[in-house]
């Protein structure tokens, strides 16, 4: 069973009106259990839209999305996935621990169980001593780690991430990439990851899905031959650079026509 299955999905905004936008046209993609797949492309290529269709935060205009063999709606209702955004989106009025507990509260967990799980998640993201802090007392990178801990608190089999490290500085970003791989390996979570960065996509992923805008579609899928174990040395390997080149060529195929014309990333 695939973790995510997308069949001939199209999504149009303002359908039938003069300002109709074809955010996605006839997209198909299959993500296997335990796989790390990145979606990359210029603004307006529909990568964030695709992620929101998987999350059932948007409904496709046509086509079908299934998650863990269920409809996307059912998967959302069952909280089969966790989600992290570019903004950490922590609640200022809750402590770090209470932030992590939020999805468990909504699932109706007992207080003691929630607390135990939150502490376990704090260990996982290596911030065990920050449970009683408030989010604004933490750095941007720490806040994102808490957001990831919250997304994984209910142990969902799937993690959906929309540029979760995009707002961080380069050094914190590389550290977070390593942490993300470690956490996913420890939990066996499948990940669909939206990014603007080619090295980031290649470093993290088993497969990189290259998308292009107007209408949003998949133009190329690059298999990254780096194996499961990745470390800082991975960034120096020939296969790493080959994959980067392959993704760059995929993006360049549409370069002339689209760069500089990008509109909002929907």
């Amino acid at each position: 069973m695939s973790a995510v299955n997308i069949r001939n999905v199209s999504k149009a905004f303002n359908e039938g009106k003069s300002n109709q936008v074809d955010a996605l046209r006839d997209v198909s993609l299959d993500v296997k259990q335990g796989e790390f797949v990145s979606l990359i492309g210029p603004s307006g290529c529909g990568k964030s839209t695709l992620l929101r269709l998987i999350a059932n935060l948007l409904e496709p205009t046509s086509g079908e999305v299934s998650v863990n063999g269920k409809s996307a709606v059912q998967a959302r209702l069952d909280q089969d996935y966790g989600m992290a955004f570019q903004q950490a989106g922590l609640f200022d009025w809750r402590t770090v621990r209470k932030n992590i507990e939020l999805p468990l509260e909504l699932k109706g967990w007992e207080k003691a169980d929630r607390r135990a799980r939150a502490d376990e998640m704090l260990q996982l993201v290596k911030l065990p001593e920050f449970g009683d802090h408030y989010p604004w007392q933490l750095s941007g990178g720490m806040q994102q780690r808490i957001a990831i801990a919250r997304a994984l608190a209910a142990h969902p089999p799937l993690l959906l991430m929309d540029e979760p490290v995009g707002a961080l500085d380069e050094m914190t970003r590389e550290y977070m990439q390593g942490e993300l791989l470690r956490i996913c390996a420890a939990t066996g979570t499948t990940v669909v990851f939206v990014t603007h960065s080619i090295p980031e996509a290649v470093y993290l992923s088993n497969r990189v899905v290259v998308m292009s805008p107007r209408p949003g579609r998949i133009t190329k899928v690059v298999d990254v031959a780096l194996g499961g174990e990745r470390s800082e040395d991975t960034r120096n390997r020939t296969a790493f650079f080959e994959a980067i080149t392959a993704v760059r060529e995929g993006l360049r195929g549409m370069h002339a026509a689209h760069v500089g014309l990008g509109n909002d990333d929907r």
């Binding site: 935060l57 996935y81 989600m83 955004f85 903004q87 989106g89 609640f91 939020l102 909504l106």
Partner: protein
């Protein structure tokens, strides 16, 4: 200890210049009245005002109790109604679109003159029109701010809650209400002084001559300027009391969030 000492020092450093300036201002006032031999009906000396304040203290306190009670009842009623209505508005978008611009506009006009109309609806000695007037003024201030707090929530938070399949009630309880709490306290900081001012001004439009507003106008009308000024001092103190209360409430709320 040193931290406590330095924060006390900082408070002291803020208070001293203001206190010195105030004392100098009163001194200059007293000197000007004596030096230019200003008539009491033109400008009364601070010494005469303070003498009147002490002599009439029990009367001033009684009048302050009347005005203060009106302001307090109106403040509580207006806040309660404003919060309740803001929930209704945030639930029904179309109502929000109709009522919010109206409420914003009403906040900018002196609606307290409506008390003249309200006075006709009740007996001449009734305090109800004044309380209704205070409640109305407070209501619109609280409504506009709290409705904003309930609706202006981060889109990331809303998407996150939808990804948890959270119900509208859960989103209200876990996102919208906590988001609106600081807005409520900010609105109280505006509404509390406005409540006191409205209570005073309401007394200028007839009714019992028992509050600070009516005592000020009747003393001035009888050329008892120093006594009038003494009631003005009482009015200032009552206004400060209400404002300080709202500031303390807000800082307690902020401390509760930032332990």
């Amino acid at each position: 200890m040193s931290k406590v000492g330095s924060s006390l020092g900082a408070t002291f450093g803020k208070v001293v210049p203001a206190a010195v300036f105030g004392a100098l201002f009163l001194g200059f006032w007293e000197w000007a009245v004596r030096f230019f031999e200003l008539k009491p009906y033109f400008l009364t000396a601070p010494s005469a005002i303070s003498e009147q304040f002490v002599n009439n203290f029990s009367l001033i306190r009684a009048a302050a109790t009347v005005s203060g009670t009106n302001a307090l009842i109106g403040l509580v009623a207006g806040t309660t109604l404003g919060v309740a209505m803001s929930f209704v508005l945030s639930r029904f978008k179309f109502l929000n679109q109709i009522i919010t611009p109206l409420a914003v506009a009403l906040n900018a006009v002196p609606i307290f003159v409506l008390v003249a109309v309200l006075n006709n609806m009740y007996s001449i000695t009734s305090e109800v029109p004044r309380r209704i007037m205070v409640a109305l003024v407070v209501y619109f201030i609280v409504l506009v701010n709290v409705a904003r707090g309930l609706t202006q929530v981060s889109s990331t938070h809303v998407e996150l809650m939808r990804s948890y399949a959270a119900s509208d009630v859960a989103i209200l309880r876990k996102v919208r209400i906590p988001n609106a709490v600081p807005f409520l306290f900010v609105s109280l900081k505006i509404a509390a002084p406005a409540a006191v001012i409205t209570a005073f001004v309401s007394e200028y439009f007839g009714g019992s001559q028992n509050g600070l507003g009516s005592r000020i106008s009747s003393n001035i009308a009888n050329s008892k300027n120093a006594a009038g000024w003494a009631y003005v001092v009482g009015a200032c103190l009552l206004g400060l009391l209400f404002y300080s209360f709202s500031v303390v409430m807000e800082s307690l709320n902020r401390k509760g969030r930032a332990k």
